[in-house]
């Protein structure tokens, strides 16, 4: 800031900063995607990775609304679902076709059709719902989600009733030597479209429309006085968000080969809201991190505990209350802390906070695990590390509340001690 004369044309970031912030992360991301298969992941891991890829695209598309445009939607799965359903139908047309357009269409192109369907659905549903922002928009999205999932159960020929509709990804011609039969093929398919989706959605944030969407989020009134119609901005962004969600649906139709009305319901809509928020909606990479963590936890945590949904809920509440910038906020905060001049002080504060959090987590786990075993009434006992923690044991109650209290004390101490820092 000491420079006095600045060339107005050279205001933006330097070329090297641009490369570091806007190109390098994507090169690294692409390299990770390419490198993963060489570690020989198991079939389970591969399936998990594919779902992570789908959710990355889905969460980013959701964040086009929540983080970038300030539109809280409770029904974003509608667009993934409609895009996905459309693609499952196409899979069946390809399977049934004997030559012709459908017969020669590679299944690899499904996300394009999902994209188109998502955009169309966004254009139709967005027209009434984008007239209003804020609470009205959120309520309308909730209504639409309910309507669509209820409607899906009624129109059997389109949505297949409770059983849903399934397809066969091996139909149609190969593309790039991928038959899409084996999971490894599907991995490359998902990796390609995930990469494409991430780059495209990042590019969108750099366009005039993307910038205006942020401006409309910050101050819709002022946007009117710089020549833009905020309703139009929201509507266009909504169409794109729907389109990329539909693209995720197209990816999902190939990975899972089935869509049911459940896919349109409030449950996946809520899940993606949580994933995007936990990841951090203020950062572009936040929803990516959220999608990775939440998909992983969703598929693996249930192996360890029957109370996993409870933990997810607690985590979400804690993120909203205490870490509003989410995982990405923590990651970038850590990075800034490592590079800050008063590193030792920052680390000192973190040490207190981490110990506090760990102690509280120990207590919470004990309370939850003991509580639902007690409520089950089968006499099962929670036995971590060989300790028998029954609800009748004094030790249980000590372990349930002493670390919790100690954790709270540590957090308060950290807050007081480093207040000025």
């Amino acid at each position: 800031m000491t420079e006095v004369s600045i060339n107005p044309a050279a205001l933006g970031p330097t070329a090297s900063a641009k490369f570091r912030e806007r190109v390098l992360p994507f090169i690294l991301f692409g390299m990770v995607l390419v490198a993963i298969p060489f570690f020989g992941p198991s079939r389970t891991t591969m399936t998990l990775l594919n779902h992570i890829g789908i959710n990355i695209v889905f969460a980013l598309s959701y964040n086009m609304l929540l983080g970038r445009a300030g539109l809280l939607s409770f029904g974003h799965a509608v667009y993934l679902g409609l895009g996905g359903y459309f693609c499952v139908h196409i899979l069946n047309w390809i399977d049934a076709a004997d030559g012709g357009f459908w017969g020669n269409l590679p299944v690899f192109s499904m996300p394009i059709f999902g994209f188109a369907m998502g955009a169309a659905a966004g254009a139709v549903i967005g027209w009434p719902s984008c007239k209003r922002a804020g609470t009205a928009f959120a309520m309308i999205s909730l209504g639409v989600a309910e309507l669509m999932s209820a409607g899906a159960f009624m129109f059997d020929s389109l949505f297949g009733g409770e059983m849903g509709i399934s397809g066969d990804r091996m139909a149609g011609p190969d593309f790039l030597g991928l038959s899409l039969g084996p999971l490894a093929d599907v991995y490359w398919f998902i990796a390609f479209w995930t990469f494409f989706g991430v780059v495209a959605m990042f590019a969108f944030t750099r366009t005039p429309l993307g910038k205006l969407s942020e401006a409309t989020r910050d101050n819709p009134e002022r946007v009117q006085f710089i020549g833009y119609n905020p309703t139009r901005v929201r509507y266009l962004v909504f169409i794109f968000a729907g389109a990329f969600a539909g693209m995720a649906g197209g990816m999902s139709s190939v990975q899972d080969e089935i869509f049911t009305p459940e896919n349109l319901s409030l449950i996946p809509s809520g899940a993606i809201l949580i994933a995007a928020y936990v990841g951090g909606i203020r950062y572009f990479s936040g929803p990516i991190m959220g999608a990775i963590v939440m998909t992983y936890m969703g598929s693996n945590l249930s192996d360890y505990t029957a109370g996993w949904l409870l933990y997810l809920g607690l985590m979400f509440i804690c993120v909203v209350m205490f870490v509003p910038d989410g995982i990405a906020g923590l990651v970038f905060g850590f990075w800034r802390g490592v590079r800050s001049p008063n590193r030792s002080e920052v680390f000192g504060k973190w040490a207190w906070q981490v110990s506090g959090v760990v102690l509280m987590i120990v207590s919470i786990i004990i309370i939850v695990e003991v509580a639902f075993r007690w409520s089950d009434g089968y006499g099962e006992v929670f036995e971590p590390f060989g300790l028998a923690l029954s609800h009748t044991s004094i030790l249980t109650w000590i372990l349930a509340f002493v670390p919790l209290a100690a954790g709270v004390v540590l957090m308060r101490h950290a807050a007081a001690k480093y207040e000025e820092a």
Binding site: I6, P8, T207, K211, Q224, I226, F240
Partner: protein, 257 residues
Amino acid sequence: MTQSALKLINVHKSFGPAKIIQGVDLDIAKGEKHAIIGPNGAGKSTLFNLVSGLYSLSDGEVQLNGKTISGKRPFEINRMGLSRSFQVSNIFSNMSVRENVRCGVLWSLGYGYSFWRNVGNLKEVQEKTGHILNEVGLLEKANLPAALLPYADQRTLEIAITIAGGAEVIMLDEPTAGMSHSETDRAVALIEKASKGKTLLIVEHDMGVVFGLADRISVLVYGEIIATGKPEEIRGDPKVREAYLGEEADEIEGASA
């Protein structure tokens, strides 16, 4: 008289039974610097909101360069060449200063709602943004988040966004409210520079600013214009003195342009 840039014909506005603006007629010539003064609650900001399209008129008409703009929506009026600022800072607080101004520039350069261009590569946009930041003196703070700017700088940014689109008619709503003396001086210099060759309509409480800046002044009291004229005419007008009791009357007397 030259062609009028902005013309208000018998403008009325009521909120329910409350008649806020009761028949305002105003004719502002191209290139004129026109100030509106009046006691608190006279309806100055309401008048601004009526002209810029935020509120709809109860009766009457507003014309911009001879075309009717009353009944049009704010963004349409803005596209026709009228830009306004706000009394409270009305900026895009989570974006950087540069992005704030850039948003103001985009429409006027014809980029509309485009989603196939990278803003970073639009040379024209970068140059105009840089030019405006330079003009208002925010170049050094260009990459700060707007919310972190000190108050006076936020007011400056408010003006920068207002002039960014290159509108021919500029309306400023109390641009120096809450500023210190030195900040006010700087703001006035900026307003003079930014409104050169353009039509300016300004609402202001600081009589020093008003009498220094304006070609003509209108006095709005209880939703009616009781006097319009050159600064010296207004200063001597007994009706104006009557409307302004006490301190502010002395201020008008004392304000030497």
